[in-house]
Amino acid sequence: MKIQTLKRALAVSSLTATVLGLTGCATANNPKDPFEGFNRAMFTVNEGIDVVVKPVAQGYDAAAPAPVKAGIGNFFGNLSDIWTAFNNFLQGKGSEGVSDVGRVLVNSTIGIAGLFDVATDMGMEKHAEDFGQTLGKWGVGDGPYFYWPIIGPRTTRDTFGWVADSYADPVLHIHDVPVRNTLAGIRFIDLRASLLPTDKIIEQAAFDKYNYIRDAYLQHRRAEINDGQASVEGRGDVECKQGRCY
């Protein structure tokens, strides 16, 4: 198992290295996005994959009754709470971490293997932490932005964070391959279905979908790392008052 994970990590880092090598001399228009050429190509790849995935997600969204969808979302949410708890401890947020452990205990038992999120009703709020955020808290910078096949937007730091997240993912550790793939598949479709309302909005709001998603992703991650405290700083260094911008 260890070796497999190591291989996975190596695959990603060598992929990163290859990409850096390939696109290193491309002209960088946007300092936030030095590998825009590669990223846009991958974006197109994902849009292609989505031609197949989206109808499946739409079918699931239409066919599954709301309580079933909620149960599926809660089940995977409960699994991810374990890793969230661990990351909260790593970030020194002890009380959040303790609350997350409480959530897992409550939801896994009273909540019937995580199908019901009773912990939220008991006042233990859901958090969402990942290893990329932990690295960010520890002071690791974003690094160049990437758009990967399947997993989508990630900064360099969050790409490595994602490798750690995958390593810790209980679903990917299931030995029975059909069970593992089925669960991973359901989770992927459930995630895609949860993004359906967003599609229409981005479709309308964005002049360039790639740009819109990149800029939103970068602002969003910054806010997540700061736990929402500095969201207004998303406005950047320009301020406008009385009709002038500085």
Partner: protein, 204 residues
């Protein structure tokens, strides 16, 4: 990204101008949000995706409480200073049309999420505040929805909406700056106008 769900309520701000003068910014945000959501909860047309009706609701209830001139300035950034008063007017008009249409649409996917209002840090004499709210849904992390407001002669006006850390206004900044660099302010006005026309004709 799922956070865009919160736009539902992001689209929702405002109140009556007469009241506005007296009202504190957080009370204003709460009043308008409650008003709009009450209407959406009862309106089957909006729930089933009637964008036109949602736009009418936003125009009546939400728009009077926004400062679109400043919103547009923030989206354009430093290039704003290069625009003539005439260009500024055009830019603001087009940007307003785009935001209203996009986010009225978000209202149509509202599904009974609760809104929680967080305490507002504000001192007497402040003319610029952030009102923080959260959209609460069972089974997922609450989504932060913050409003920046400034005090004007006619009362408090919203000039930025920040959903899960993403400013709906400055998210356009790079795209707009690129266009101004390539085709000038008029190019940007043209780009916005074309987009609005597309959206207008795209929907039945």
């Amino acid at each position: 990204m799922k956070s865009f769900f919160a736009l539902v309520v992001g689209a929702v701000l405002c109140c009556s101008a007469a009241f506005a003068q007296e009202e504190a910014p957080d009370a204003l945000v709460k009043k308008v949000t409650d008003d709009v959501l009450t209407i959406v909860r009862q309106d089957k047309d909006i729930q089933s995706g009637n964008t036109k009706k949602a736009i009418e609701l936003v125009e009546a209830k939400v728009l009077p409480n926004f400062n679109f001139q400043r919103m547009t300035a923030l989206a354009v950034g430093r290039d704003w200073n290069k625009a003539t008063p005439e260009q500024k007017k055009h830019l603001s008009e087009e940007f307003k049309t785009l935001l209203v249409r996009t986010y009225s649409n978000a209202l149509t996917s509202y599904k009974d999420q609760a809104v929680r209002y967080k305490p507002t840090k504000m001192q007497a004499g402040d003319s610029d505040v952030v009102v923080r709210t959260e959209i609460v849904q069972s089974g997922s992390k609450p989504i932060q929805l913050d409003y920046s407001l400034e005090k004007q002669a006619e009362g408090w006006k919203v000039y930025d909406v920040i959903v899960a850390g993403v400013s709906l206004v400055t998210n356009y900044r790079d795209t707009f700056a690129q266009e101004v660099r390539a085709n000038g302010i008029d190019g940007l006005i043209q780009m916005l106008a074309t987009k609005n026309k597309q959206l207008e004709t795209a929907k039945k």
